[in-house]
């Protein structure tokens, strides 16, 4: 009896029950938000239909009728608006992913350089961060694009033997032409890669077990570079180069690197790297000095110290704000629409919207896309963060 009495919960009126309260608050909140969105949507649609504007996604499969100069999937004037959406989306993703990759590298270099004991290097890094971080990205993009527009025109350039031309349309280079049998070289490369990974694991285990080191650099060169090249010659050189051929206005085909893409990429990388550099610097400074001292007491070189001791610990501090920078870069890529890079906003929320006049569906989809990309990025980075987290035992 006594025990049962003890277990009985103290009675609270439902009005003061924190659980019930929380539930009611949250339900009310969801209702309000939902109603707000619903009201906004229906109001907009009825308002527009009063003016004779019908909101629908019926245009999706209609012929778009315009070309896009930078595309990674097939797109012609006869493709649909839906395909134009994918071209824009893929361009956004490509410029963002490559941008994130390069900005991370540059950001780490600058961040580490800021902490360098070399006065000149640390000052250069300091001013890089100060200047780039404090000028709006839009202005930097316009400036970069404008500078690139002043490269020589394709018509002014003479045909040369290198086959490499830097013009204000982009960089034209010889392109590989894969003939029959070229698959062999690809397989050779793949085989070399697999063999190298096997060798690397073996060498690592051996080092852990016996402390003996084995050469990796040379083996890498042999398996991944020399082996495929040898196969290339043995199989009778099935890959040849097609040199750009001058036409009246340009060179045949598209540029290897189009100027708008390069300008967008450069702008995003230079800008975001300045922020990443600060994140990296903060991360490194958070690692206690004792760690570095201990590392040098053990005889690690400065490079080994950075690579094996400091950076792995700094990573835990760096990752969350780094994720933010990745999200920023992705969203900022929409600014590239201003310099005529055909990413999602330029193609879909620009040209497609203007031709179909479907503002609500088009803008809605565009917003959803950025939301989705951002959520995926956050999710991946969180998963990575969890893996890197300190395991407390």
């Amino acid at each position: 009896m006594a025990i049962a009495e003890l277990e009985e919960k103290p009675r609270i009126s439902p009005f003061y029950d924190p659980k019930i309260r929380a539930f009611v608050y949250q339900a009310a909140m969801i209702f309000l938000v939902g109603y707000g969105l619903y009201a906004a949507y229906t109001n907009a649609v009825t308002g527009l239909s009063k003016q004779g504007v019908v909101t629908s996604l019926g245009f999706w499969d209609s012929v778009a009728g315009f070309p896009i100069s930078f595309r990674l999937i097939d797109f012609t004037e006869l493709s649909s608006y839906g395909t134009a959406f994918w071209v824009g989306l893929i361009n956004t993703v490509v410029v963002s992913v490559i941008g994130i990759f390069l900005a991370t590298i540059l950001g780490f270099i600058v961040g580490i350089a800021r902490l360098s004991s070399n006065w000149l290097i640390s000052k250069i890094a300091y001013w890089y961060v100060q200047i780039i971080r404090n000028i709006p990205l839009l202005i930097q993009l316009i400036l970069i694009a404008d500078l690139m527009h002043h490269l020589p025109g394709a018509t002014e350039i003479k045909q040369n033997t290198s086959g490499i031309y830097l013009t204000n349309q982009g960089l034209f280079t010889p392109r590989p032409v894969f003939e029959a049998g070229s698959g062999l070289i690809f397989y050779a490369f793949l085989g070399g890669l697999v063999a190298f990974i096997g060798y690397y694991n073996w060498a690592k285990n051996r080092q852990i077990a016996t402390g003996k080191q084995s050469p990796t650099g040379l083996v890498f060169l042999g398996l991944i570079v020399i082996f495929p090249i040898a196969v290339f010659f043995i199989s009778g050189m099935p890959i040849s180069l097609a040199y750009p051929v001058k036409t009246r206005f340009s060179f045949q085909g598209d540029a290897t690197l189009q100027i708008e893409f390069v300008a967008a990429l450069l702008g995003l990388v230079i800008y975001t790297a300045a922020f990443i550099a600060e994140v990296v610097r903060a991360g490194i400074m958070s690692v206690s000095k004792g760690q570095t001292e201990a590392a040098s007491a053990l005889g690690l070189t400065a490079g080994q110290n950075l690579r094996l001791v400091v950076v792995p610990q700094a990573f835990r501090v760096i990752l969350p704000p780094l994720t933010n920078q990745y999200l920023n870069l992705t969203k900022n890529s929409s600014l590239a629409s201003v310099i005529a890079f055909p990413e999602l906003v330029q193609v879909f929320a620009g040209t497609v919207l203007n031709q179909t006049n479907q503002a609500i569906p088009v803008m809605g989809i565009t917003m959803l896309v950025y939301l989705t990309i951002s959520l995926i990025t956050s999710f991946l980075m969180n998963a990575f963060n969890q893996r890197m987290a300190l395991r407390e035992r």
Binding site: P67, A340, G350, N354
Partner: protein
């Protein structure tokens, strides 16, 4: 609570953006005390502020004419400079009362954009501008060329049609703003720049070396440019289109800013009806009977406005051509005021 506040704000913002404008536009304009006109950001001859900040141009004159008809005062108008791609949103949302910005009348703009076009104040067509050094004599030689074009325009659409129809290709470089578009062409990024022929004449003046550029002979489209209003307000639509017709009628009848006071004494019934000395035509529009007198007195007739802004009296020196009166071989024709 913060986020529900946000959602309410967003909700009401969208409501504002897309909310139908229920009161008649004329009443709204009268109670505001001025006309809000959607204009070019900067296009010589059509709509552009001069160095003193006064708006000048054919389309600007049109807005001033509407303001004169309503308020007897051509200065009671405010201009909202709009990029091509933003203009219809501004019209739909009620941000502007009329869109007078070298805008082409097309079927889909009448139907899917909720715009209503009533009159054509400039008959135009699309052309190409190229560098003389390229030695191009015809647009058909542009196969493989890079073309700079402004987004959200009929220009963008015609360009595709023209190349497709002629089985030639081009590489588009598409900008949202007109200045970026022109600058990219000027710096050499594009081999050709395309827009309405009137725009070519105007924009050419902004190039570093205007004389090094030439307009190609082909006109690849029909661009009837005119004022647009929202669908569903017939009274307002009438005022807009009859403002243009009053200006054309005045030119037909030889009524000008200089002689309009004298013309009040005219015995010609057409002129009497135009100037409101006979009949009650202005009242039918919801205006005063001297509405057209005010337009002519303050702004002038169509020919005067044309010559001053884009014709012989301007930098552009565009010939009347298609924009001449129908009686002189042009297309400008006003239905009778009666």
């Amino acid at each position: 609570m913060k986020s529900s506040l946000i959602s309410l704000t967003v909700g009401s913002a969208i409501t504002l953006i897309a909310g139908a404008v229920s009161a008649g536009t004329l009443d709204t304009v009268k109670s505001k005390g001025f006309l809000q006109c959607g204009s070019n950001t900067s296009l010589a001859g059509f709509g552009q502020p001069d160095p003193q900040g006064n708006w000048k141009g054919l389309d600007v004159d049109f807005c001033r004419a509407v303001a004169s008809a309503i308020f007897n005062d051509p200065t009671k108008v405010k201009f909202t400079p709009l990029a091509a791609k933003d203009r219809f949103t501004a019209l739909q949302s009620g941000e502007i009362d009329a869109l007078v910005r070298n805008t082409t009348w097309t079927l889909s703009r009448d139907t899917t954009l909720g715009a209503f076009f009533g009159a054509v104040n400039y008959y135009d067509g699309q052309g190409f501008l190229v560098r003389k050094s390229m030695n191009i004599k015809s647009a058909l030689e542009l196969n493989g060329a890079t073309v700079c074009v402004q987004q959200g325009t009929t220009t963008e659409l015609n360009l595709t049609d023209y190349f497709r129809a002629n089985k030639i290709t081009y590489k588009p470089v598409v900008f949202a703003g007109s200045d970026e578009t022109l600058k990219a062409y000027d710096s050499g990024r594009c081999d050709a720049y395309t827009t309405d022929a009137s725009g070519l004449y105007a924009e050419r003046l902004k190039l570093t070396k205007p004389e090094d550029n030439a307009v190609l002979p082909e006109i690849i489209s029909k661009e009837p440019l005119g004022p647009a209003v929202r669908q569903g307000d017939d009274q307002w639509a009438n005022i807009i289109r009859w403002t243009h017709y009053a200006m054309v009628t005045a030119e037909e009848q030889g009524v000008t800013t200089a002689n309009v006071d004298e013309m009040l004494k005219s015995t010609n019934p057409d002129i009497k009806r135009l100037l409101g000395t006979e009949g009650k035509f202005g009242e039918g529009l919801g205006l005063k009977n001297d509405w057209a007198y005010q337009i002519i007195k303050n702004v002038g007739n169509y020919g005067e406005s044309f010559e001053r802004n884009v014709g012989a009296g301007s930098q552009l020196k565009i010939a009347r051509g298609q924009n001449g009166l129908w009686s002189k071989g042009g297309l400008q024709y006003a239905p009778p005021i009666r």
